[in-house]
């Protein structure tokens, strides 16, 4: 039996959780059981079946409305103790890492974090994951009766949703009451009108070459036309031109989109660590010697203020926008 702890947002099963479910169905580890925790989660339960779950363990309660480590970890631990899965998977998101890390201690189970590749060999999880800030790959193995792994966003493919699928739903009562939980989510401010970097299929990023906060305008326009997330190099974040949440690289986000367009980014080793697994990399830079051209699939040597707007216009025409 294999557990997949799922995450959801705005009544949708998170993309990263769809990927984790898809991978679980392909591991040949027996029944795939999705764990769905939250409040009013019946839709998420249905979606979990559509994306590959054979069974769902559901905990539906007001104390679970917002994610908090304590009640979620307690539930995952209880579910594992009652059903004895061989493996537990989850997406390697901020919440997934917290729940799985916490539960691994209670369950005394080996956890392999943030994996790009995953298989079962001789009953044990075997995974490939980036280490040393993405500069080296490690093959890691787990041992023991229960083994856990978190899966990197966009490293695995979800199944095509099959709306005819459904199955048994097991209800799990919350372990902790509100009075037992020592943390409280006071407010949540959704990042509006922007695509999350780690989920994005396309990322358009600006670097030092944009010259200032306003220099991001053409980069942002290209991102909008492509439905892409907006990225940035460390230099622009440190200069205060754009908030930290946009930073791609070793001390920012590590991303693997299908397409990464780097405008005015020289491509320091720290930046490369964050984006080198993109399928296609496009570099637009004035300096033909910029290290980014050593990594790029396609390139334009030229001023981003001329070439990026031209690219925006070319895509507008071709995509009918």
């Amino acid at each position: 039996m294999i557990f997949v702890w799922t995450e959801h947002f705005d009544d949708k099963l998170a993309q990263a959780s769809r990927e984790a479910l898809g991978k679980a169905t392909k591991l040949g580890a027996g029944e795939v059981v999705a764990l769905v925790f939250g409040e009013n989660v019946d839709d998420i339960v249905k979606q979990s079946f559509h994306y590959g779950a054979d069974k769902v363990i559901k905990a539906d309660d007001a104390t679970l409305a917002n994610f908090r480590a304590e009640p979620y970890v307690a539930l995952l631990v209880k579910a594992a103790q009652e059903h004895n899965p061989n493996y537990i998977l989850a997406a390697s998101t901020a919440r997934g890492r917290e729940v799985m890390g916490g539960a691994s201690m209670d369950l005394d189970a080996g956890l392999i974090s943030d994996v790009n590749e995953l298989e079962i060999e001789g009953g044990n999880l075997k995974a490939v994951r980036p280490v040393y800030s993405g500069k080296v790959l490690a093959t890691e193995t787990a041992s023991g009766d229960l083994q856990m792994a978190t899966l990197r966003s966009r490293a695995f493919t979800p199944n095509e949703p099959d709306e005819s699928r459904s199955g048994e739903v097991i209800e799990l009562a919350p372990v902790l009451s509100e009075a037992d939980i020592t943390s409280k989510v006071e407010s949540f401010e959704e990042a509006k009108g922007s695509v999350s970097l780690t989920d994005a299929a396309i990322i358009v990023s600006g670097g030092r070459g944009v010259g200032g906060p306003d220099g991001f305008d053409p980069v942002r326009e290209l991102a909008e036309v492509l439905g892409a997330a907006l990225g940035a190099s460390r230099a622009t974040v440190d200069a205060g031109w754009i908030p930290y949440e946009h930073q791609v690289g070793q001390t920012g986000k590590v991303v693997s989109p299908d397409l990464y367009i780097a405008a005015g980014i020289s491509g320091a080793i720290q930046h490369q660590a964050g984006m080198r697994t993109a399928k296609v990399i496009v570099a637009i830079n004035k300096d033909p010697e910029a290290p980014i051209f050593g990594l790029a699939t396609y390139g334009i040597v030229g001023d981003l203020f001329q070439y990026v707007p031209a690219l925006t216009k070319a895509f507008k025409e071709r995509l009918g926008k």
């Binding site: 890390g101 005394d108 974090s113 193995t141 041992s143 006071e186 070793q250």
Partner: protein
């Protein structure tokens, strides 16, 4: 008030890291304090400045990790502790976390444990949540700001940066937090600070003193390998902005990445 920061040394972010023919990882520069921990150590010293009390910098590791402890002392932490035991050789995250949690318990009066976002070498943060669970304390990862902290009332309110947006979360102390780089501007040691830190006696606690057995590792690295070399040479598009853009746009559509 007693704040503990857990740190270690890792290769410098600018270092070239590679695997040699024997499968051993090496790097080009001397190791430095884990880059994410600069913010964690600074936050401990800032909290001490604002609220008084004590800041301890701790590592679970061999002697080379004392460099990170010295940086903590040099910018203003009061004491440093190193935890090590031969039984920790080749440790996994669970073993690390059991040792770290036991050392924090031994310190006795800790209100807050601060970690950096992750360790840059093993590239994981699972120990943050493992340590919290072992201690039975609340964990708060991805902390971008401490909005309020009251050591007398034992409360903390933080802003967390999650995938879909920002959450403001309040919790009771003691707690374990992992901080992101927008939490502060890192402090760098002064000459006097470095001199003082160089003279510090750093006690080493072994597992016997901590009264624990960390068991066997449950995850292991079987192999390290270098990254595959990316593609071949870059294909450049030239011409006027309109010409180059048209050719590039057609190519990307043909590649089905748009």
């Amino acid at each position: 008030m007693h704040v503990v920061v857990c740190t270690k040394v890792t290769p410098d972010t600018a270092a070239k890291v590679s695997v040699n023919d024997a499968g051993v990882v090496g790097w080009s520069e001397a190791p430095v304090i884990n880059p994410w921990d600069e913010y964690a150590v600074t936050e401990a010293v800032l909290l001490k400045g604002d609220h008084g009390g004590q800041a301890t910098v701790m590592t679970v590791g061999k002697q080379e990790h004392e460099e990170a402890l010295k940086q903590g002392l040099a910018i203003g932490c009061d004491q440093a502790i190193r935890v090590w035991d031969d039984a920790l050789e080749g440790h996994d995250n669970l073993q690390y976390s059991k040792a770290a949690a036991a050392a924090i318990e031994k310190l006795g009066d800790v209100d807050l444990v601060i970690f950096g976002k992750e360790f840059a070498d093993t590239q994981t943060d699972q120990y943050v949540y493992q340590v919290a669970r072992k201690l039975g304390w609340t964990s708060l990862g991805a902390v971008a700001k401490i909005l309020e902290i009251d050591f007398n009332a034992s409360t903390i309110k933080v802003e967390r940066l999650l995938e879909q947006g920002k959450a403001v979360v309040s919790a009771k102390l003691p707690a374990v937090i992992a901080v992101l780089k927008d939490i502060n501007e890192p402090k760098y040691p002064s000459f006097m600070g470095i001199r003082k830190a160089a003279k510090a006696e750093i006690p080493v606690w072994n597992l016997g003193e901590l009264g624990i057995d960390v068991g066997e590792p449950k995850t292991k690295v079987a192999q390290y390998k270098n990254l595959p070399v990316r593609g071949s040479q870059v294909q450049l598009f030239d011409g006027t902005p309109e010409e180059a853009a048209a050719k590039l746009a057609d190519k990307l559509i043909e590649e089905k990445v748009i």
